[in-house]
């Protein structure tokens, strides 16, 4: 009973993303960002995308390239402070931005991947982040209803993958990738290293391959992935 093989080429894996898709995009700053999948998405030019991602990368890299190419309609995020261009787009009204507290963004995605429709939290109470949200009283305590987030496609970046889609991540490049790799109808993982089935220790797999639909091995790392000199 061999595990199924999910290796797929870059072009084909990204071509399955339709116009109007909702996408989860891994990464926190540079680490863990699937730059190669994003560049291919820019090349293919799908339109009217909704992106869910912790930040907006830095100008000229990662999802900022999709903002510049006009492919993004809406961004659900926690902090875009390192990208003046994204802030400008938001302020001029050409990009619809929904801000979430970072941990609640993570938790909503996690709920989507866990098949939990909604969670209740006190985080954000007393701030404008709770404004307009449904409040549910539980045991006399007001709690904010936060809906699960799921996407049509998740784009994640792994350090190592096997053909079944078992994934590991490097250092703080883990960040949002594991919850995102569970929370989409289709999960596409680019990987720096591809190993044979059985080469990853079953105990050290971070994302089980059963959550992953396509594994795209990277032939090279572009400079996007390198050290940022600010």
């Amino acid at each position: 009973m061999p595990l199924p093989d999910k290796l797929e080429g870059l072009e084909s894996a990204v071509a399955r993303i339709p116009d109007g898709a909702v996408l989860l995009v891994g990464g926190f700053g540079v680490p863990g960002t699937p730059f190669t999948l994003l560049r291919e998405l820019e090349r293919q030019g799908q339109q009217q995308l909704t992106l869910i991602r912790n930040d907006a990368n830095e100008p000229g890299t990662g999802i900022d390239r999709l903002l510049r190419s006009g492919q993004v309609r809406r961004l659900v995020t926690s902090h875009i402070g390192l990208n003046a261009h994204a802030i400008e787009r938001m302020n001029e009204g050409s990009l619809d931005v929904e801000f979430c507290a970072q941990g609640i963004l993570a938790e909503r995605i996690r709920a989507g991947g866990a098949g939990i429709p909604a969670i209740l939290t006190d985080v954000g109470l007393g701030t404008e982040l709770a404004a307009g949200k449904t409040i549910v009283e539980v045991e006399g305590r007001p709690l904010v209803l936060e809906m699960a987030l799921r996407a049509d496609v998740a784009l994640v970046h792994a350090a190592t993958a096997d053909p079944f889609g078992n994934l590991t991540y490097a250092a703080t490049a883990r960040n949002f990738n594991p919850p995102m790799a569970m929370a989409a109808d289709r999960v596409v993982a680019e990987t720096e290293s591809l190993v044979a089935l059985g080469d990853l220790s079953a105990e050290n797999v971070e994302t089980p391959g059963s959550f992953v639909d396509a594994v795209v091995p990277l032939s090279a790392l572009t400079e996007d992935y390198g050290i940022v000199c600010r």
């Binding site: 009973m1 595990l3 089980p208």
Partner: protein
């Protein structure tokens, strides 16, 4: 494998073998405790599939004899098992995240009762059997497809396929197909639909052992 399959008996082996034939290549499958767990033994050796056990493993391999057992490696039924290349361990939270979020393609379960609308009862017999639900509720309610392998009647000869469940339900309208020692029966909007009959069994016999109306598929009825 050989010995275990042999010990099933002819009719049970046939139904389990028949259930195995429907498994879609490349799918993620959870096999319940007991008869359902035997389905894996009838998959071809090169068949691409990922077996899941809800105590925290994908890439479940065959059961292993006690002398080769790893004390830390069991399936959800407590049997010592092996793994296949590419297996992954995870915690109970992740394991049921997989089930609830639609990543489990198929759950094969046992049953006390299946109703004509697909309701399932398999976790409790009030006053007699109440060990708790375990993972059955989520396996029944959340797998993308739920099939049942069971004897057609209980050990007193009473039908398990009924108009309505009399026992506490595990899930509502969740069962797609039932494999028994007599028949393969689908749950359809019009109720139970007989799809195949076991070798040597007649439609009349199957209907008599079924506690609800039984439609019969058009055309010649395949035999398994």
């Amino acid at each position: 494998m050989g010995s275990s399959a042999a010990s099933l008996g002819n009719a049970r082996e046939r139904l389990v073998r028949r259930a195995a034939r429907d498994i879609v290549p490349g799918s993620v499958v959870n096999l319940g405790i007991g008869l359902p767990s035997k389905v894996a033994e009838f998959l071809p050796a090169d068949f691409p599939v990922c077996l899941h056990t809800e105590n925290g493993l994908t890439g479940l391999g065959p059961a292993v004899p006690l002398e080769e057992a790893d004390r830390n490696l069991i399936d959800a039924g407590g049997a010592y098992v092996g793994t296949v290349a590419g297996a992954a361990f995870f915690d109970s939270v992740t394991s049921f995240s997989l089930v609830r979020s639609g990543r489990l393609d198929l759950s094969i379960l046992g049953a006390f009762e299946v109703a004509a609308n697909g309701d399932l009862a398999n976790w409790k017999i009030p006053g007699k059997f109440s060990p708790g639900p375990g993972g059955a509720i989520e396996l029944a309610q959340k797998a993308k497809k739920v099939c049942i392998v069971t004897t057609h009647t209980d050990r007193h000869g009473n039908p398990k396929l009924l108009r309505q469940c009399t026992l506490p339900r595990t899930g509502t309208a969740c069962v797609a197909r039932v494999y028994t020692d007599l028949a393969v029966i689908d749950v359809t909007p019009a109720g139970f639909l007989l799809r195949e009959r076991a070798e040597g069994r007649t439609v009349e016999e199957i209907r008599a052992a079924t506690g609800a109306p039984l439609q019969v598929a058009k055309g010649p009825l395949p035999v398994f």
